[in-house]
Amino acid sequence: MKISYNWLKWYIPEVPEPDKLADIFTYHIAEVEGVEKKEDDTIFDINILPNRAHDLLSHQGIARELASLLNIKYVDSAPEYKIPASVKALAGKSELKIDIQSDKCRRYMGRIIRNVKVGSSPEWVVKHLESIGQRSINNLVDAANILMYDCGQPAHVFDLDKVEGGLVIRNAKIGEKMTTLDNRDLELSGQDLLVADFKMALGLAGIKGGKIAEVTAETKNVIIEIANFDPIVTRKSAVRANIFTDARKRFENDLSPELGPYAMRELSALIFEMCPEAIFEDIVDVYPHKQGIRKLSFSADKISKILGLKVSVKEIEDILKRYNFQYKENKGKFEILPPPMRLDLEIEEDMAEEIGRILGYDKVKGEIPEINFKPKINETYKNITFARNKLLSLGYNEVMTYTFSDKGEIELKNSASDKKFLRTNLSDGLRESIKLNQLNAQFLGMNEIKVFEIGTIFKKGKEELHVAYGDKKEVKEMSLAEYTKSAGSFLNGLAGVGDPENRGPEKMTLPMKFQMWSLFPFIARDIAVFAPEGIKSVDVAEVIKENMGNMVTRGPELFDEFKKGGKTSYAFRLIFQSYDRTLTDAEVGDIMTKITNKIKENSGWEVR
């Protein structure tokens, strides 16, 4: 959700500076995904958490939260609205008819406004919308959008003269068709909720308006909609239609229908400001499913126990006052009435979170519990560790390969990749691994590639831990149980990690840095040097190092050594590779010639 700093400032003139505000969001409210300086404004992109989407997806919501959190003044704009006089339906015209036929519409407030003038919006409206990345469309549509970003309530405007009869909120008929404002043709299912007139669908409820009653430059009379729809129906419908709108986002996260009257007043005032000649008819409010009053009880003791932080009755009372919660307190036990918008506050633990985040989780000091747990040894893990250590000791290197395969017995219903099955063995992956590593054998400094994997395979009706190991000649595979049985003569008495009686030596890896390999091919070259008595291999390696340039990614590595007639033969291997191009045989040849010549300069040294 994009939040304009200047917009916030309307409501909380004492808001801290943007830099400080970002930290307040991060540590008390939600993650700041971005901060953007824009002329004289700063725009925060805040990732509002799903449980706060009821009340924080708006500038007023955020401003209220900050005012309570920081104990600063909140300026309520409502008294400043110019409230238009309301009239009964004009003579000869009927009142707005609203017929709710589905319990998925919890409230529908409508109002006819006549004699509007569609045109461009005042400058402040355009500026506000643009600051949060929205485009100005026309004054009426802009008013509805400003309302949503200001107080969180989505709204819609219909051209009254294109509406047949009145409004009906009903389920779509199977196969019923509708064209959206942005000209997408939808074919609806029986579960989609519609706002319709007596004939046709006017909009997908809470998601997107339809083309039929679109407000245009010629529009003279309108109906404004302030409604509340069921979150699950909204989400399912929007997923089916693949429509993402800000209205959907708010309804699918559940909004309080109690927001309606405030929003109706704000929207009316906005339109009145833009169209002073407009005539406002009486509000029609159909509210069949009233939001109940919720009580929540909690104790200071329980909150302290959850947080691991002693929180006093006074601290809690201070928070409840700042947040305008009605409460009763008796001996550390609280009973509160959460505000209607705070649908997230249901149980005692919710209040622990509320109090914890408001106080700041930095107040919670880390403490390792002094409890004597009695852990048991995990036999499977012990066997995995045994198998791994055994195979490592036999010279096999460990790899991990993919669980996904292009064939198998268990198929996935859906997959982002073309491998839609689960592997039935480890051997296939291991053979691929051997092939790949064979190509790099010289780079790896291995004469033969020996690898193993311990992992899960999937057959019809069961998954099983397997062990597979092998080389280019042969790959063996069996269940972990079979492997430990066959290789387990020294398993007895072997202590695994997690064995509290025998933890073994602490193994700490060195703080090493990973070296990404080059994606270009390498060239391997060997050089064997006959050196007189007394010359050590490091002496020869030194000469090679001084002359090999900067393209050697591995070596010089001594791979053979023998004595003959008072002289010693040292054989080294060098791996040449560049990080940005393919080396040629010729340039590597030149380097080898240079090394050879330098070696020959030493008396008695000979390159074989």
């Binding site: 996904f404 219903k413 090493m512």
Partner: protein, 238 residues
Amino acid sequence: MDKENKKATEHPLSILANEAYQAFSEMGFEIALGPELESEWYNFDVLNVPGDHPARDMQDTFWIKDKQGYVLRTHCTSVSARQIEKAGKEGRLPCAFISIGKVFRNEATDATHEMQFYQIDGVMIGSIEDGISLANLKGVLARFYKKMLGEDSEVEFRPSFFPFTEPSIEIHAKFKGKWLEMMGSGQLHPNVLKNCGLDPTKVQGFAFGGGLDRIAMIKWGIPDVRLFYQGDLRLNQF
């Protein structure tokens, strides 16, 4: 000579998993393992993820064809749930479990996203008198990250939301002077305890979970998560 001294190499994630198990074992955690092909019940329902939650959508979870109600587990929290349910039945409270295992997400892969990866998941519960709290969570994870990332590492809490915890906390760890998002965590939601056959008026505790691959990438500077599963021995540098 080099040839004889050359030891067979271990996969970096195995090295790290062992270190993590070691660190948690020292704090009394018991190692737990569980199935990778998991029931919808243990992967979602037990954990208080409602039936209409976006996470159950086709795009995030691998569903199994011809096996209604089964998924490739999307986290190891399913193992934690199975363990506390079992421990409760066996009367083994207080208890703590640590599970490191492969998890799956159905999403397009890139340098930081992979369809399979490893997760560390832990849980610690006890009686109300034991009072296992967020302070304990912070203590345990602070010690863990000191072991994994070095003694100068710290952890901090930030507000978050998960259906299975209340309060919910995002764990950030400081590594080389920078705060990095590491784990999701919090006190187990009463509904989760109830679903595991435990009485939330008598039992409380915390749970946490986060990527193992991510720790490896941060600790060693490994640039791409996909390198872990290629079967390429050039990865085994540690």
